[in-house]
Amino acid sequence: MIDLELREHEEKKYHFRPFSLQFSKAHEWDGVAKDIKWLFPWIYPMRKKLFFALSFFFIATFIRISLPKIIAKIIDDVLVKQITPFTFWASIFVGAIIFKIIADISYKWIVTKCGQNITKTLRSDVFYQLGRFPMAFFDQNASGKLISRCVNDVTNLSSFFTANFFTVIADFALIIGATLFMFTISPGAALIVALMILPLTIFMLNVSQAQMRWGRDQRNLLSRLSSHTADTMNNLAILHSQDLSEKWSERHSKLQDIFSGFTIRNILTWGSFSSTHVFIMGITYASVITLGVFNFQNGSMTIGNMIASFTYVGLIFGPFIEISEKLNMMVTALGSVKRLRGLLPENIKQVLEAPKDLAPAPQGNIVFENIFFSYRYDTYLFENFNLTIPEGEVTALVGRTGSGKTTLAQLMLGLYPINSGRILWGEEDLTSLNSTRRARWISHVSQDLFVFTDTIRENLRMWNEEISDELIWDRLKLVGLQEKIASFEDKLDMIVKAETLPLSQGEKQLLLLCRALLQDPKLLVFDEATANLDQLTEEEWLKNVGLLFHGRTTLFIAHRIETLRLATNIVVLENGKILKTFRKPKGNPVTEQELH
């Protein structure tokens, strides 16, 4: 019952005091400077545009602040004293308004566009970085985590770049600018305002921080409630047949109580701020009005300026609520920056890959020479391992789970770096083959039946435009899938996803055989998995696989005895060592006795 201890624990940690300086100690803001510095390389290319945006922003804000002053002028000079014609000031007013709207649109549009572009580059870079991580990285990180980095965190960040960030700055600028303008009209009133907004600002920062914390706890508890519900649904039969309802309901209700504790505290804190805000504004307003009227009465202020000073109070107090809402978003964005920094240590330059290398495949045997390999530092899976896979023949690899079969295949494919030793393909080092040649001449048919979201055509030819539709249909006919695919409405254009592919497991396996046939590799790494082949007869299976193996250097991980008939070499692995090897003339199956 770890969950239920949370309440006390959290309460001890955080006491909300509206007028203390506790917000300055919030660790949410730690390392902000570094985080922003980290972002700099992405922002830098946009500097010119952002400079324009900033200029427009200042113009817009300046006009917004000076509008009450213009109205004051109109009141004083046109309406009261009648010394200037209305058209003069009216055209200034209209001009200012038009200018302001244009400046507003311009800066917001530029900022939004820059922000979205920066976000796009960042997303692209994160994805690029994923491609550079070693395989081990994917073994250690759950895909959900990586998705949230690539998608959610960057989305949070984009709120930081887009208008929101400027809204907060604009609001601050408005508060400060309006106070300064007020100072030129009535220093006394400006002083009153400054005195009043100081505590309100502290209150606001504390509220933002409290909301952040409680908001986080709230989300946390809500997700716990959700997993409790999911758990309930997943264990329904047990709960209904074991008389556990009461206990489970009680737990749900306890979690809810804690949850509601946070939400209600959140509502009340926010409420107290909002009410205090209104009340302080009221007092300030009344004081400024009183002062304004006194000033007007003793002749030190015109009526227009008096009215303007009233308007400024509204301008100054308006943005507080908005700022405190937006601060939360900024802090969330900063949290995302921290997480992204973990993934992308510094700005990276995307390098375009070298042009296609059309050199032919290396010729000769595959030779494993003194291989040392371990996934972790402590124990070697392969220690001084040696093996030769003869050219143009089929070598079968058999052995228990964990004997190292799959690892051996993955080393050949260059998925993991070897600790020492080398794998030769004829004269060339297999692991340092460049990626286009490796992709062209080596094919891997794995047991996980991987299909990506795209058309059937692209799934088969893997975006290699040189492969024509005729060739695809021809190969489909060879593996016996032609009719099935032709029966789909969109035929090769049908878009498939792993989970929506309307093929049985066996047919899927045939599809992937077809993919490998189209690639026409010289070296084939083949992982046969029995589970997927239920619907295929042995004959069909042997025919198709035989077709694929024919004339290629093949390493295949065998699970079924029948398929061993295709092999001329059989290697039995155990714990990373070769237990036994057999060499047979073609077509002569190895018997079961021989294997044991």
Binding site: A90, M233, A237, L244
Partner: protein, 582 residues
């Protein structure tokens, strides 16, 4: 479910729970908006008075009145927070609890038809949408409504018919909001769809990383990803355009309003004759009018979402409950008797037909049959999971107590049921084995031994306290089944109902576990559904089910010869035991 769901009816019933609170909250919102007009009128008066009579005007009473107004506003704000926001949270909480308890107390069969994902989202997202409407939605609705009434009235009071000129530009805003609302909403939907595509793409990348790397597709994948990013970007910019357009219209409308007032003042309109007050105040009031107009779209969205949410929640809260009897079952079970038992699915299909069966204390029975033959349903019925409105029988008795008069809890206490799909709580292993009470480690290890799980548990990082299911340790299919078996041993019931509980175990382990079960529970009733023939040989009785009927029953030898099913079963068995390469 087939009855018409009325959202308004549902809302009414929710509000009825907190009638006073809601009416108080709404009154305070309206009152607040009314009070909010006062400062404007006061300021107008101040400006007019001070202009008219320079020296003799005393501003202080007005100032105190202003402070009073704002104090009242502050109070009323706190008021509606108490009276609207907090109740909306309470309603959310009550509904969540109510719905949750329904999951456990309603007809099992109906609840198990619900999808987990749907239930979870109903109790979190959908419910929170409903709450947003019940709290902020209702608040904003009445707030906007009140402002949209009070502000024009005040303006007409101050300016007379000239107010029409000032308000005219706002019709433009209403038009623009109604035009722009749809594309913005659609744009956001498109964006979230694009984000979904991105997630799917990254997911695929992590799943297929080996494939993409070995086939040299990394570069192509990057291009595809960039293509998706561009498409997302264009959708985002599209929405930004609309939003910016709306924002600019708002500004334009406000400024037009200002300008109209200035022109009125310049022309010496009659309303301005008293002084400049009208001008000052009109600008303030116009500022306040913008927001309610902008929030029309927001309220419409909330209403729609709440409507959908309420439908989903209603589906859960309207589930029928269990009918419980009043007669307690004694702990000692002598026999179970079924006569002409028929079980019907939710859609009316017959799942079991005319089952006649009598099981005595100490009898060990195996159920066999193909998929869909009714083994699971029969076990569920024996486990008390079916409601009387879905089963018909001449007799269905535990000892002498008929099923419809039985207090269900007393039955549950003596039953030890293992469902077909292994169900594991994502909590500690110990809790999974002893969900009802706190466990003593020694007993627990005993049960683990019996289920052949002790060795596996010793390998876990925190043994019995290891969190399973969530991150960290995942159990294999066989380990999950053995966990359930350990739970069953630990519960020490009088009736053991195991539904294919041993399918993932190897034959040797299976044999061992069944032997342990049988020798330890000579006095108990055992009913096991299974696929494997080898484990049937020693059972007292084997019952063969086919399409919901009992087609054969007897000892192993009796059935083996003449029943076709057995031949196919033994065929299967042979196949599955085909030697694999080591």
């Amino acid at each position: 479910m087939n009855d018409q769901f009325s959202f308004l009816q549902f809302l009414k019933s929710l509000i009825a729970r907190r009638k006073w609170s809601y009416s108080g909250g709404i009154v305070s919102v309206i009152l607040l908006d009314a009070v909010d007009m006062l400062p404007a009128l006061l300021v107008k008066d101040i400006t007019d008075q001070v202009q008219k009579d320079h020296q003799n005007f005393d501003v202080l009473p007005y100032s105190f009145a202003l402070i009073g107004c704002y104090f009242l506003i502050a109070l009323l704000r706190m008021g509606w927070r108490f009276l609207l926001m907090i109740p909306s949270r309470h309603i959310e909480q009550e509904l969540r609890q109510e719905a949750y308890e329904k999951l456990l107390s309603s007809n099992f069969i109906k609840v198990s038809h619900l999808k987990t994902g749907d239930v979870v989202s109903s109790l979190s997202q959908e419910l929170s949408n409903l709450r947003m409407f019940m709290g902020p939605g209702i608040l904003v609705f009445f707030d906007s409504l009140a402002y949209m009434i009070f502000i024009p009235i005040t303006l007409f009071y101050i300016l007379g018919t000239a107010a029409a000129w000032v308000l005219l530009p706002f019709t433009l805003l209403i038009i623009v909001v109604s035009i722009v609302h749809q594309p913005i909403e659609k744009g956001f939907e498109a964006i979230s769809k694009e984000l979904g595509n991105l997630s799917q793409f990254v997911f695929e990348e992590t799943q297929g990383v080996r494939f993409f790397r070995t086939e040299g597709l990394t570069q192509v994948r990057r291009k595809k990803y960039d293509y998706l990013l561009n498409s997302l970007l264009s959708k985002q910019l599209n929405v930004s355009k609309w939003e910016l357009g709306l924002d600019s219209t708002l500004q334009l409308v406000l400024q037009c309003g200002y300008f109209a007032v200035l022109v009125l003042a310049w022309q010496g309109h009659s309303s301005m004759a008293q002084g400049l007050g009208a001008l000052t105040v009109t600008i303030q009031l116009l500022d306040k009018l913008a927001w309610p107009l902008m929030s029309i779209g927001y309220i419409m969205d909330l209403y729609q979402q709440a409507n959908n949410g309420a439908k989903r929640i209603h589906q859960i809260t309207s589930l029928s409950g269990k009918k419980d009897g009043s007669i307690n079952l004694s702990d000692d079970i002598e026999k179970i008797k079924l006569q002409n038992l028929n079980v019907f699915a939710v859609d009316g299909r017959k799942l079991l037909s005319d089952i006649n069966l009598e099981i005595k204390k100490g009898e060990h029975i195996a159920l066999v049959g193909t998929v869909g033959s009714g083994k699971t349903v029969l076990l569920q019925a024996l486990a008390g999971l079916w409601e009387t409105d879905q089963i018909k029988f001449d007799q269905f008795q535990f000892n002498e107590v008929s099923y419809d008069q039985l207090r269900r809890n007393s039955l549950l206490k003596i039953i030890s049921y293992i469902p077909q799909t292994p169900q594991i709580f994502s909590r500690t292993l110990g809790m999974n084995i002893s969900p009802r009470k706190k466990f003593h480690s020694k007993d627990m290890w005993n049960s683990l031994e019996k289920a052949d799980l002790a060795v596996d548990v010793k390998r876990l990082p925190e043994e019995l306290s290891t969190q399973i299911g969530e991150k960290g340790v995942n159990l294999s299919g066989g380990q999950k089944q053995r966990t359930l078996i350990a739970r069953s041993f630990h519960s020490s019931g009088k009736i053991y109902l195991w539904d294919d509980a041993i399918s993932a175990l190897d034959p040797a382990t299976e044999k061992k576990i069944i032997n342990t079960l049988r020798t330890l529970n000579k006095e108990a009733i055992l009913v096991l559904a299974t696929h494997r023939l080898s484990s049937l040989k020693n059972f007292d009785r084997i019952i063969v089910l086919e399409k919901g009927r009992i087609v054969k029953s007897g000892r192993f030898e009796d059935i083996r010869k003449d029943h076709e099913l057995f031949r196919t079963l033994s065929q299967d068995e042979k196949e599955s035991q085909k030697p694999e390469v080591p």
